[in-house]
């Protein structure tokens, strides 16, 4: 159609993780665990490394 790609259900992992790890609600207090204190930089690096791995080893 146009210059816009509607990704819709085929969402890139990075877009999803951007939201799930930096957006959404973190309610402190009663919560036992949550990904809030996860080292996002380290995780981000892993996403990148994983993306590179996939590029390097196409199925």
């Amino acid at each position: 159609m146009s210059a816009v790609t509607v990704a819709d259900r085929d969402v890139a992992l990075i877009d999803l993780l951007d939201r799930l790890l930096q957006g959404g609600v973190v309610i402190q207090g009663q919560i036992t665990l949550c990904a809030a204190d996860i080292d996002l930089v380290a995780l981000d690096l892993r996403v990148v490394v994983s993306a590179i791995d996939r590029l390097a080893a196409p199925k």
């Binding site: 509607v6 799930l20 959404g24 609600v25 919560i31 996860i38 996403v47 990148v48 993306a51």
Partner: protein, 263 residues
């Protein structure tokens, strides 16, 4: 048999859903359920605490396949309710030790959560990313003029300088295009946020991302917003900008800070 906790996907107003989505949870063996307290229902599923407690969780987060599977399940469950209502999405791997802990949280934050659910009601999040698609780069100047001519250092430097100016000009053009785009789409949205552009390794595109924006759009304006994005995409293509629209999403980026969100 190990102890279980409650993995929470998101919160919805009581009565918005007749039943929990019929989907596998992050632990496929266990169904997605609703736990209601006051005017709010939490969408949950049970998980083994020996896998979801802090220490094992930390280890599993190093496993990208597991992270991806979990993130996609989390999203699928929330996606399944978008047609019925707008949930307050929880962050990945939010786990309560037991029902009592979850109910206590819902009870203590009831007022703020209900206000947030009302505010977000009838809205959804859309993502728009812009990429700079450079024209075919000009051939590098040969150190010399016309064939047979004596090499001229001055001519070479002048060509290089012209190319640098052209590149700077193009960059300013792209920045202006992004600004216009963001202004136009913000005008159709209830709220807008700009994120850091993703690196090419992460976005999976070999063209640089120049805009990474999210918009909270009223469902009534959904068609207007997506059509406008498509129009802008066509208009910006000759200026070297390609757009990518994603959504609709649960409002991950627009939960008010008052209830622990990012806004």
């Amino acid at each position: 048999m190990s102890e279980t906790g409650l993995y929470v996907y998101g919160l919805v107003p009581r009565g918005a859903l007749e039943r929990a989505p019929d989907l596998p949870g992050v632990d496929s063996a266990r169904p997605v359920e609703l736990r209601c307290e006051g005017g709010i229902c939490a969408i949950v599923s049970r998980v083994d605490l020996d896998r979801f407690d802090e220490e094992p969780l930390r280890e599993r987060l190093a496993d990208m396949d597991w992270v991806e599977r979990t993130a996609r399940r989390h999203q699928e469950v929330l996606d399944a309710v978008l047609a019925a209502c707008t949930p307050i999405p929880m962050r990945l791997c939010t786990v309560y030790q037991d029902d009592a802990g979850l109910r206590r949280m819902l009870d203590e934050h009831q007022e703020g959560l209900l206000a947030a659910l009302t505010e977000l009601s009838g809205t959804l999040e859309w993502g728009v990313q812009a990429f700079h698609v450079p024209e075919t780069p000009a051939a590098p100047p040969r150190p010399g003029g016309q064939p047979g001519e004596t090499a001229s250092g001055t001519a070479y430097l002048q060509t290089r300088l012209r190319q640098r100016h052209a590149a700077e000009h193009a960059e300013a053009e792209i920045a202006r295009a992004c600004e216009e785009l963001h202004d136009a789409l913000s005008g159709l949205a209830l709220a807008a946020r700009l994120g850091a552009p993703q690196r090419p390794e992460a976005s999976g595109r070999d063209t640089p991302m120049v805009l990474n924006a999210v918009y909270l759009v009223a469902n009534a304006d959904r068609a207007r917003f997506t059509q406008r994005t498509a129009q802008l995409g066509s208009a910006l293509a000759p200026r070297g900008v390609a757009l990518r629209l994603t959504g609709p999403w649960a409002p991950y980026s627009f939960v008010p800070a008052a209830v622990g969100g990012a806004r």
